[in-house]
Amino acid sequence: MKFLCLECDRQMDFEERQQSGDGTFGAAFRCPQCGRAVAMLANPMESQLVSSLGVKIGGRTLDPQPMELVRSRVEGRDDAFVDALPARSARPRWSPEAEERLTRAPTFVRGMIKKIYVEYAVERGIDLITPAVMDRARGDLGLEGM
């Protein structure tokens, strides 16, 4: 997919992706010459088609997790996967609010999501994961729907 600024006859750059939680997504592109921005807004069916391929519009900010598509999309059993976490001494703590938010994720995928947040915190020297940290990680890593 390419976006062309007709005024400047220049290909636009991908700027950001937005997922509103209602099954749709948006992607913003900007002309590097005149600065004009456009947003492509996809309906739920178009969004679903793209995500079914296990890809993200605009590319990925995070390497794919093992069996990411399966774990995020199959209605599976709670104990299907056991995720290895960093050594206990290196693991950040979770605030009660963050733990509560984590429980809202389906159990099948919770281990994978937890690992992503833990690694994010470890890499940045964060020793307490709070909802604010989770929000920041979602923004930094492009974790739509997590």
């Binding site: 997919m1 069916m45 399966v70």
Partner: protein, 273 residues
């Protein structure tokens, strides 16, 4: 108004979808680089003993000292993990998902490890038009079973395909270096016609037919040790002639593995590199 088209723009595709799909394929290639032979086991209809043959082939090869993996691609009706007594949970490390260990040390991954007892394969997706993307999701799952599992170095990876032609074309696209396919039929003409369609799809996809296994070729009576008739027909021999492939064996229905089963498996293992 006139403006330049897609290919007239020399810049990269900013959606990065093509690059991501290519990266997915590269991950499959990298994971299978240490696998000597990938063999698909297929059938035309369900219930002919395809998974039974897949399990037998895996165990037979493993007992000869080969390192063997089994990928259960029959996502909606997984069987082979139970036959191989390979139980979850599946352990996940940075390198990927580690397979469950089954009979004779076989390494097994199946949707059976993912699904709750008695529950069908269900995707989290909008209800409307789910048929549109279901097959895309299933192919994606098969791709992840190939690329995201820590198979390790293998002499043989057996892929137990779902019945019918769809799985054949999917696996041909994902594993271009597939060593070949073994087809399982029962003697009946209905099965022959059904397997023929699947084998035609395999041939059209450039997959070599290694051989035909005819299952339920009579009933093996444990008391009189005679093989009695069960289904009319000679589908195995007909398919072997039609596709220029050997009939690897005719296995009678038997509550316990018969000598013919062992011979068929030994013959099939003998075809592997």
């Amino acid at each position: 108004m006139s403006f330049r088209g897609y290919f007239a723009l020399s810049g990269t595709d900013r959606s990065a979808l093509g690059a991501q799909v290519e990266a997915q394929r590269a991950r499959v290639r990298a994971r299978l680089a240490d696998v000597r032979a990938v063999v698909a086991v297929l059938s035309g209809k369900g219930g002919v003993g395809k998974s039974y043959v897949s399990a037998g082939l895996a165990v037979g090869a493993a007992r000869e000292g080969r390192a063997v993996g089994v990928l259960d691609a029959d996502l909606r009706s997984p069987t082979v993990a139970r036959l191989l007594e390979a139980h979850g949970p599946l352990h996940v490390t940075d390198d990927g998902v580690h397979p469950a260990i089954g009979t004779a040390g076989t390494r097994v991954v199946s949707s059976d490890h993912l699904l709750a007892e008695g529950q069908p394969l269900t995707w989290r997706e909008p209800e409307a038009e789910r048929f549109v993307w279901r097959s895309t999701l299933e192919t994606g799952a098969l791709r992840e079973f190939l690329s995201d599992v820590v198979w390790g170095p293998l002499d043989l990876l057996v892929i137990d395909l779902p019945p019918g032609a769809d799985g054949v074309t999917d696996v041909a696209a994902l594993v271009p270096d597939l060593y070949g396919a073994v087809a399982v039929t029962i003697p009946s003409d209905e099965s022959r016609r059904s397997v023929e369609r699947t084998l035609r799809a395999a041939s059209n996809a450039g997959i070599r037919v290694l051989g035909i296994v005819e299952n339920m070729a009579g009933y093996h009576c444990p008391e009189c040790r005679m093989v009695r008739p069960l289904f009319a027909g000679d589908a195995g021999a007909q398919l072997a002639r039609a596709f220029g492939a050997p009939l690897l064996g005719s296995i009678p229905f038997s509550p316990t593995p018969s000598p013919q089963f062992a011979e068929t498996i030994a013959r099939t293992v003998g075809l592997l590199p």
